[in-house]
Every structure is written in structure tokens, then in C-alpha cells.
């Protein structure tokens, strides 16, 4: 986009018949905010390359890039599945399913994400494992020893913090994505479902072949934007001591007292990632629109 900007800049200066007003308007319409962001990123890159303290901070934090991206990606994939199921559940004719899905969404919406992540990782997961233990005891009492041994063998402490963090993020985003899926599905006219059903397709077949392909196409931009948000919110997992970019920055800053170096580098890293991802989403969106 920066290239485009400079190109149209040179073009305007080479075309004399344009009056001053329209040149001025063209200049005003250029994406200067983007130029500004690129300048910030380039400036930070030069600083990291040339100043030893920044360079050291970067080399530390670098180790967390992969953790941040992998955590976000895995959690996001899980959240997509959870969101699709919940979104469909919210429209289910079954009273129990519908209300359960709604309750999940409302609970997640009503609790701050940070608190929810603590809760799921430190309270929710141990609780689930306790329940599985009880289930194991029950299986043992009715003689299903293999299953019982497996369930009793599950240990709370054996679940690493990364896994807890991923589950917590997935559960949180699953609720957001459920609403995205629901909106997407509801944006498809009733006639589509009716036409499919009138041909003898079942509800599931109609969903899979007719409704979801159209719905997902409509919500792809929203899904992309939510992935960008996921990358940012994955910084919360640092509070579970997962060694993502944020956690390493905190460790680095804490041990060297170089807060400025640590958090400027960290911020610019996030910004670079999200800007690149957003551009990807935009390009993708434009391609989709062209195909319509």
C-alpha cells in the first residue's frame, strides 16, 4: 500500500492539467495513517538493528513469536469448531440445546476475558478433571476397568499451562465466533433452506451443502478479523506463565530493568503481525468481492 501511495504521488506531480484543488484532495485521500505505521515499524526495526540494548531485547523476545502464533492458531481452530457448534445450537429446535448454547455465550460475554482465562485454566479445568475422576470411579464400580484406569490416571498437574491457555482462549473465542456464525447463517434467506428441504434434503444436508457455504463466505472477513484479535488477546496467556512474546518481555524487563527496550520491541512486534494479518484479510476480502 505504501508503494501504491508513492506511485500515485509521483503520478499526480507529473500531470500538470490537474488544478490545485484536486491535487490537494488526492493528497488528503492518501492512506497517511498507514504510511505513519510503516514509518514507526521501520524506525523500530532500525533501532533494533543498531542499538545493542534493543537488539538484546529482540533476541530474547524472538523466542516467543512462535509460541504466540501457535497458541493463537490452535486456539482459533478449536474456537471455530466450538463457535460453529454453538452457533448452530443457538438456532436448534431442541430447548435444552438452545438454552445451553445461549447460556455459554452469555457467561463468556459477562466475564472479563482475563478473569475467564484464570478461571478456566486454574479452576474450570481441575474441576473437569475431578469430574472425570468420579466418572472413572463409577466405571470401576461397574467393572469397566480399562476406561476407569484411563480416567483415574488423568492428572491435573499433568496438563501443561500452554494447553490450559489454549483451551481458555478457545472457550472464550468460541462464544464470540458462535455469534458470528449465527449471524452469518441467519443472513442467508429462508428461501434457501426451503428450496433445499423441498428437494428432500435433510436439515444437516441443507446446512452443509447450501447454507454454510454461503454463510461462511459472508463471514470470512469477520473470521479473519477475529483471528487478528486472537493474536492480540493471546498476550493474556502470559499471566499463566506461558512463555509467549509478552511473558518473555516481562521476564526480560524484570531482570534487566530495560522496560523501554522490552515493551517498545514487544509492541512493534505485535503491530507488525497484526498489520500484516489485516492486510491479508483485506486482500482476501477484495478477492472474494471480485468473484461475486
Amino acid at each position: 500500500m505504501a508503494e501504491q501511495a508513492s506511485k500515485s504521488l509521483t503520478e499526480t506531480s507529473q500531470s500538470p492539467p490537474l488544478d490545485r484543488l484536486s491535487v490537494g484532495r488526492r493528497l488528503v485521500d492518501l492512506p497517511w495513517w498507514f504510511v505513519g505505521i510503516v514509518i514507526v515499524i521501520v524506525w523500530a526495526g532500525v533501532t533494533i538493528a543498531t542499538r545493542p540494548n534493543f537488539n538484546e531485547a529482540f533476541r530474547w523476545i524472538k523466542a516467543g513469536i512462535l509460541v504466540t502464533l501457535a497458541t493463537s492458531l490452535v486456539a482459533y481452530v478449536l474456537a471455530i469448531g466450538l463457535g460453529l457448534l454453538t452457533g448452530l445450537g443457538r438456532m436448534s429446535r431442541n430447548v435444552f440445546v438452545r438454552n445451553f448454547a445461549r447460556m455459554y455465550v452469555e457467561i463468556v460475554r459477562g466475564i472479563p476475558m482475563l478473569v475467564l482465562i484464570f478461571f478456566i485454566a486454574l479452576v474450570g479445568l481441575p474441576l473437569v478433571i475431578d469430574m472425570l475422576h468420579s466418572l472413572g470411579e463409577w466405571f470401576a464400580s461397574i467393572g469397566l476397568t480399562v476406561l476407569a484406569n484411563f480416567l483415574s490416571g488423568l492428572e491435573n498437574a499433568a496438563v501443561p499451562m500452554v494447553a490450559r491457555a489454549v483451551i481458555a482462549l478457545a472457550v472464550t473465542y468460541g462464544a464470540f465466533l458462535a455469534e458470528v456464525f449465527r449471524a452469518g447463517i441467519q443472513s442467508i434467506g429462508r428461501g434457501q433452506m426451503e428450496a433445499a428441504r423441498s428437494l428432500g434434503m435433510g436439515y444437516g444436508q441443507a446446512m452443509r451443502h447450501i447454507i454454510l457455504p454461503q454463510a461462511i463466505r459472508n463471514i470470512l472477513p469477520a473470521l479473519g478479523n477475529d483471528f487478528v484479535s486472537m493474536v492480540k488477546d493471546s498476550s493474556l496467556v502470559s499471566l499463566l506463565a506461558v512463555r509467549d512474546m509478552t511473558q518473555i518481555s516481562r521476564l526480560y524487563a524484570g531482570s534487566t530493568f530495560r522496560y523501554k527496550e522490552a515493551f517498545i520491541t514487544l509492541s512493534v512486534l505485535y503491530l507488525t503481525m497484526t498489520v500484516i494479518l489485516s492486510l491479508g484479510v483485506q486482500a482476501f476480502e477484495r478477492r472474494l468481492r471480485k468473484h461475486e
Binding site: 428461501g191 426451503e194 428450496a195 428441504r197
Partner: protein
């Protein structure tokens, strides 16, 4: 071939909240017959059609298709719907699929036909409605009349025993109505059992074995097109016909 009616509707009613869309409708349709249903908007014509293939679940009464009573059993309803083609006012083609895919999808998913067979049948039906050359196009690239013809081909590709038409031409520009009616007339000639909600009186005169006039969720009058147009028995029918035939 047995002579029992292919569609039997007994004392059918349908309520939407407080509104009685259908109020005790009974109807028998024999194989190969063409019945055109007319009536003012809100008279329950569409609801009657939609109850016959259970797109709306009736509030009361019974629908029998080929001697089989429709229940709320989803599997049974899906099987029955596969035998009943439906054409909608707004076409409802699948916009993300090509014309040929539109015509083939249900054959493959519901009838379990292999791809080559489905495509053969699909192309044959597209020829029947006169647009085989649009097989690779998307619905959005077609005119309304072409879209409706594809929708008819899509229903025919399932080899239905009954075709329901819910105001198939009322969303079309005038110059496109004829091409759709021509396809429907050809179907009549082939002996298809058809239930048509439409105010195309030319079509009714040419094709209908019988006509039904509905009002306020009831069948007011059922007779041949000749008699309906020349000697309607009921006052309400006369009034309605005078309103739509005035111009």
C-alpha cells in the same frame, strides 16, 4: 395404474399465531391432473401448497401422498418431498452453485446418483426447459425467466410425481412470463400432476383441468376453468374475478 388420488388433503388447518391461514381445507387430486389455485392474497393458497410437502407443519388435519399419511417423522417427510417438486415465487436457486450444480446437487445427495448420471439427467432437464447452454453459468448471471426455468429443471431432475408451483411468474418482468409458462405448458402435455398457485388466467384456461378459488383459508369454489370464468357460483368468486379480469 391405480386410480386413487395422488394427493388427499383432509380438513387441513394452519394457524400462525392468531391468524388462521387454512381453515378446514379438503382436497383430492388425481394423477395427471392440473389444478390452478386462485384467490386474494392471504387466502391461504401458498400455505396450502406448503402444507402439502410439509414446508409448513399443519396445525390440524391430514395430508396423504400416494396413499401414505404424512406424519411429523422427518425421514418420511424427506422421502415424500423428494417425490414432490416445488417451484417458488423467488426461484430460490443456490447462488453459490452453477446452474448444472443446482440441478445435480439433490440428485446426488438425496437420490444418491453418481455424478455422471446426475449430470446426464441434469443436462436433459436443462434441455427440456430450453437453457442447456447456461449449464456453467451462476444464477446471478441469468435473467429472472431463465432462473425460474432452472428452478423448474432442478425440481424435475428429481423425477417428481407431483409439481407444486407457488406463484411462479409473479416476480418476473412481463416479457419473461411467457417463457416460464411455455415450459409449464409442456409439462402439462407430458402428463405431470400439477398444483399451481397463479393468477395467469391464460395459463389456467389452457392447462387447468380444474380451478380452485380460495378465500379466508377455505376453498370457496372448485370447478372447471370454463365454468369458473363464465358462470361462477359464489358471489365472492365473481367479485374477485371481476377485480382481476377488469383490465
Amino acid at each position: 395404474m391405480n386410480n386413487e388420488p395422488i394427493i388427499v388433503v383432509k380438513d387441513l388447518s394452519k394457524r400462525f399465531g392468531k391468524v388462521e391461514a387454512l381453515n378446514g381445507v379438503s382436497l383430492e387430486v388425481e394423477r395427471g391432473k392440473v389444478i390452478v389455485v386462485i384467490g386474494p392474497s392471504g387466502s391461504g393458497k401458498s400455505t396450502l401448497l406448503r402444507c402439502i410437502n410439509h414446508l409448513e407443519a399443519p396445525s390440524g388435519g391430514q395430508v396423504w401422498i400416494e396413499g401414505e399419511l404424512l406424519t411429523s417423522n422427518q425421514r418420511q417427510i424427506n422421502a415424500v418431498r423428494a417425490e414432490i417438486g416445488m417451484v417458488f415465487q423467488l426461484f430460490n436457486l443456490f447462488p453459490h452453485l452453477t446452474v448444472l450444480e443446482n440441478v445435480c446437487l439433490a440428485q446426488r445427495v438425496v437420490r444418491k446418483r453418481p455424478r455422471d448420471e446426475a449430470e446426464r439427467v441434469g443436462m436433459a432437464q436443462l434441455k427440456r426447459v430450453g437453457i442447456p447452454e447456461k449449464a456453467a453459468a451462476y444464477p446471478g448471471q441469468l435473467s429472472g425467466g431463465q432462473q425460474q426455468r432452472v428452478a423448474i429443471a432442478r425440481a424435475l431432475a428429481m423425477d417428481p410425481k407431483i409439481m407444486l408451483f407457488d406463484e411462479p411468474t409473479s416476480a418476473l418482468d412481463p416479457e419473461m412470463i411467457k417463457e416460464v409458462l411455455d415450459v409449464m405448458l409442456a409439462l402439462v402435455k407430458d402428463g405431470m400432476t400439477m398444483l399451481v398457485v397463479s393468477h395467469e388466467m391464460g395459463f389456467a384456461r389452457a392447462a387447468a383441468d380444474e380451478m380452485i378459488f380460495m378465500d379466508e383459508g377455505k376453498i370457496v369454489e372448485r370447478t372447471t376453468p370454463d365454468l369458473l370464468f363464465t358462470k361462477p357460483r359464489e358471489e365472492r368468486t365473481k367479485l374477485f374475478l371481476s377485480q382481476i379480469l377488469q383490465h
